[in-house]
């Protein structure tokens, strides 16, 4: 791997934001809570936050996503939101009988200085000795700091803090996968099975956010990380945080390490060939088992396909955008396929992003790296750098249309294609799917642009 030339990060030059490349902190927290068994997210703030986030998540997941709100009024904003908070928790408990209520704050309740942890303590004091009382988990998510990714990780960490207890060492392997697709979550579970490991994902919204049709309505979608399992996290054999970019202080695995001395591994999610190799090697080490043959077969077919397809992709200039860890995964995989990465952009301001991108490049790419930007910045960079292909989430469609560039959709959110919630990115199978779609995107575009009407490409 040749060390690429480092390019300077460009600071955004506008006072305003135009076409955001990130979502707000509470959205991530809501999604994380949806991956916990029997949990309902609850936003302490205005009614709109809950409704907007529901709508946004529904457009991606196409599933019922009930998020409660303390529905602030003017009075709550002036005199504090405790009354509405208590009322909201009471009503939610009556209607849903949840096992967990995941409370995330909003910019409003944070700014007026509501002391939510003390509200929770008070409620727990008031309703003692009732097994039916849901457990309340709190995460502070003012939307004027960070992005949905911060909210996601911090909510996960809060859940683990609430439920994990010290106990004898057990055989659990605990994975904190980050904000990934439901199919990615399922693929991780298949990996555990293949290595006969007792792996547990937290959160796990593979069923709650991508479940079957129902015979009758469920208050809470079935699925999620079981609470009984969360309790065992304090004695887990090992914990894994899938991230390159998120700080340890925000991570659940890191919390388990600090608090219970659990062996923690921090590695990028298994996107692309090398990252999958690392992941499977780790599973092999943890399980003491050889990597099962079917992975070798998958890998073999994948490499064969990479060779078959490399001429379609070689030197194709591409721009990547989206959530930091996701684009890093893409960056490593796509640069290794011979595409020329010209732009790597992320919406949330991410520490060490530039260095991380440079460490994840192979081949000859020397991309411009944009950190904490919006789609106006990305569009300017695209004009300058002239990529021929865009890879990222649906929010890049406006740009793709204006610049007449094909967009291959990955990550979150996917609002303008069907099945975005179950796109597979992980493992050799995910890499194979990404490879096929990349090549087909290039071919489709080439075919459409040509006057000839090629029947063989």
């Amino acid at each position: 791997m040749t060390p690429p030339a480092v390019k300077k990060e460009k600071a955004p030059s506008y006072a305003s934001s135009c076409n955001a490349c990130r979502q707000c902190t509470p959205l991530g927290a809501c999604l994380a809570f949806k991956g916990i068994e029997g949990a309902v997210p609850f936003l302490h703030g205005s009614q709109g936050c809950a409704t907007y986030i529901r709508r946004y998540l529904i457009s991606h997941f196409r599933e019922p996503i009930d998020i409660a709100s303390s529905s602030f009024s003017e009075d709550s904003a002036i005199f504090g939101g405790e009354r509405n908070f208590r009322r909201g928790i009471g009503n939610l408990t009556k209607q849903y009988s949840p096992r967990v209520i995941g409370v995330a704050t909003t910019c409003l309740s944070e700014t007026i200085g509501d002391d939510v942890p003390s509200f929770l303590r008070q409620i727990e004091k008031d309703v003692t000795e009732s097994e039916d009382q849901p457990k309340l988990v709190h995460v502070s998510t003012p939307s004027y700091t960070g992005s949905h990714i911060d909210g996601f990780h911090e909510a996960t960490r809060s859940v683990v803090k609430t439920f994990a207890v010290r106990g004898p060492v057990n055989n659990r392997l605990v994975i904190f996968p980050g904000m990934v697709s439901t199919e990615d979550l399922r693929s991780l579970k298949q990996d555990f099975n293949a290595f006969e490991l007792h792996g547990i994902l937290a959160p796990d919204y593979s069923d709650t956010m991508d479940g079957p049709a129902w015979e009758s309505y469920h208050r809470m979608s079935p699925g999620g990380t079981p609470l009984s399992e969360l309790a065992l996290f304090g004695g887990a054999k090992a914990a894994i945080d899938f991230t390159h970019c998120v700080a340890d202080k925000q991570l659940a695995g890191s919390y388990l390490q600090e608090t219970f001395g659990i062996v923690r591994h921090r590695l990028p999610a298994p996107m692309g060939i090398e990252a999958t190799d690392r992941w499977l090697e780790l599973l092999s080490t943890l399980s003491g088992k050889e990597i099962p043959a079917h992975y070798q077969e998958q890998r073999g077919r994948l490499i064969d396909a990479v060779v078959d397809g490399h001429k379609y992709l070689s030197r194709v200039p591409v721009a990547l955008f989206g959530e930091a860890d996701h684009v890093l995964g893409l960056c490593a995989f796509l640069s290794g396929l011979g595409l020329e990465i010209r732009l790597v952009a992320t919406g949330g301001k991410t520490k060490g992003f530039e260095e991380a991108v440079n460490n994840n490049l192979s081949g000859e790419s020397t991309p411009e790296i944009l950190n904490g930007v919006d789609f106006r910045d990305i569009e300017r960079a695209v004009e300058r750098l002239e990529p021929k292909l865009l890879v990222g989430n649906s929010k890049g469609y406006t740009l793709s249309r204006r610049k007449k560039l094909p967009l291959m959709r990955t990550g979150f959110p996917i609002h303008d294609r069907f099945g975005g919630q179950r796109l597979l990115h992980f493992g050799y199978a995910g890499a194979q799917r990404l490879l096929d779609e990349l090549i087909n995107t290039v071919i489709t575009h080439r075919q459409a642009e040509s006057d000839v009407g090629w029947t063989y490409i």
Binding site: C18, G48, N91, L92, S97, T111
Partner: protein, 477 residues
């Protein structure tokens, strides 16, 4: 009042129900504070509790004040719309409505001051001023709307002062929209938007406006609907001065007080503007709906009658006859396929629900559930009158109530928006989007045909044979 479901005392015992067990419809009970907002029609007087703030913890389908303002002003296509607040409010409303423009498309860009922690501490006025100046310079809009979000109401930015200053500097109207999310409900957001519009109205030249002239208020040009409606009125010989706000333009709004009549659809969102214009400029207004043959025809006749010109009425009659004769043959066919099916309707404003109930009846269908986010007492009385006995009326409802009645009334179709769609689909119920995201025109005469085709395509799809709830019902029969 509350006649369906289980009394509240039992609902308290619900706690003991295992949360992950799938409850039957009858297991879902209403919260005590929700019981007066639900009514099953039986001929007795309707006294619904409505127009209140959403109940905390009830998982309302409503959004907030900001949402009300944002949806109303959003389609003004030659203005920049800047959300003053943290990024979420702008991110979730970026290109959210299918409001089409025949010209500029500034409304499809999502601008925000993207407030950060330091702005919350030190105030966001400087950032807002800079944002406004750079955006006005770059996009050369004809006006700017600045939406305040929750946090702005708390940190106390003087939006009025910033707007005055920037307006003076740039020479365009810069309009604050007081839409802090917590200051009421979505309906208050409509009023805030109308207040902002009222600052524009009356500032333009009204010469050359003929007597036979109207403004179309409260249509948002989803899927180009306002162009259809405008064309109907033009065919009658009436000039449309401003469309507010669908395919809206600042200059049209500025001179719209010169029109003879305001024709107001979606009365919830725009009635405030119509009343303000009546008070200030003496412009009378009519309430109409463009959904369904009956209501569309009435909208044309009422305007003709307003001008007391028999010739106009004749032209309206001719137009209606022509249009109806085009769509009727196919509508009759569809009616045969839809006859006897049951529908649930949940809309933003109640006016749309009235039209839908009437349109469904024309298609041979029955409305079993009807509700709205923002209806008032009179609306629900009227809804009760036009619905069959045994219809469940809902104000500001939530997913569990909807699920309960979808199952109890065993509806075949749900008409609503994106947030209702997965509830219907999970239970194997057909769906028609009658909200922001739709891409098919449902207004006007051809719109009703589109509506019927869409309903038929979903209701009579063979896929319902596959879904568990429906399959089990058939087994039971």
């Amino acid at each position: 009042m509350f006649k369906v479901g289980i009394p509240f005392a039992i609902s308290l015992c619900m706690k003991t129900t295992l949360p992950h067990k799938s409850p039957k419809a009858s297991d879902i009970t209403l919260l005590k504070d929700r019981q007066l907002s639900v009514h099953e029609t039986d001929g007795s007087p309707v006294e619904m509790t409505c127009g209140l703030a959403s109940l905390a913890g009830a998982v309302s389908q409503r959004a907030c004040v900001f949402c009300g303002s944002r949806v109303v002003l959003y389609p003004v296509a030659d203005a920049v719309h800047i959300v003053h607040g943290p990024i979420g409010c702008a991110a979730y409303t970026w290109d959210i409505r299918g409001s089409l423009s025949s010209g500029p498309e500034l409304h499809r860009l999502s601008f925000s001051t993207d407030l950060r922690e330091r702005d919350v501490i030190y105030g966001g006025e400087k950032k807002l001023t800079a944002a406004l100046l750079e955006l006005i310079k770059e996009h050369k809009p004809n006006a700017a709307f600045i939406y305040s979000t929750c946090i702005v109401g708390i940190i106390g930015d003087d939006m009025e002062a910033v707007c005055r200053k920037v307006a003076a500097e740039t020479g365009i109207p810069v309009l604050p929209v007081h839409s802090e999310g917590f200051k009421g409900s979505k309906k208050d957001g409509y009023s805030a938007a109308c207040n902002a519009l009222m600052r524009l109205v009356g500032t333009g030249d009204t010469s050359n406006i003929p007597l036979l002239s109207i403004n179309i208020l409260g249509d948002f040009n989803l899927a180009g609907e306002i162009w259809m409606i405008k064309e109907y009125y033009q065919r009658m010989g009436i000039e449309v001065i401003a469309t507010v706000t669908g395919d809206g333009r600042v200059a049209d709004i500025q001179r719209c007080h010169g029109a003879s009549l305001n024709v107001v659809q979606c009365s919830g969102s725009m009635i405030h503007l119509a009343k303000a214009m009546e008070e200030k400029y003496g412009t009378p207004f009519l309430r109409v709906s463009y959904f369904g043959i009956e209501d569309m025809s009435r909208a044309l006749y009422d305007v003709a009658e307003h001008f007391e010109d028999p010739e106009l009425t004749n032209r309206a009659a001719t137009l209606i006859k022509e249009e109806v004769s085009v769509v009727m043959p196919r509508l009759r066919e569809l009616r045969e396929k839809l006859k006897g099916k049951r529908a649930a309707v949940y809309t933003g404003g109640a006016f749309k629900a009235f039209s839908l109930v009437r349109s469904l009846r024309l298609l041979g269908m029955r409305t079993a559930i009807a509700g709205s986010q923002t209806g008032n007492k009179d609306d629900y009385k009227e809804l009760a009158e036009i619905c069959d006995p045994g219809t469940v009326l809902l104000d500001d409802t939530n997913p569990l109530e909807l699920a309960k009645y979808i199952q109890e009334k065993n509806v075949d179709l749900f008409i609503g928006g994106v947030k209702e769609r997965p509830i219907a689909y999970k239970l194997g119920v057909a769906f028609c989007d009658h909200n922001h995201e739709r891409k098919i025109a449902l207004a006007g005469f051809e719109g009703l045909l589109n509506f019927a085709e869409e309903v038929h395509a979903s209701v009579n799809s063979p896929i319902w044979n596959l879904v568990p709830r429906r399959r089990n019902q058939e087994d039971a029969i």
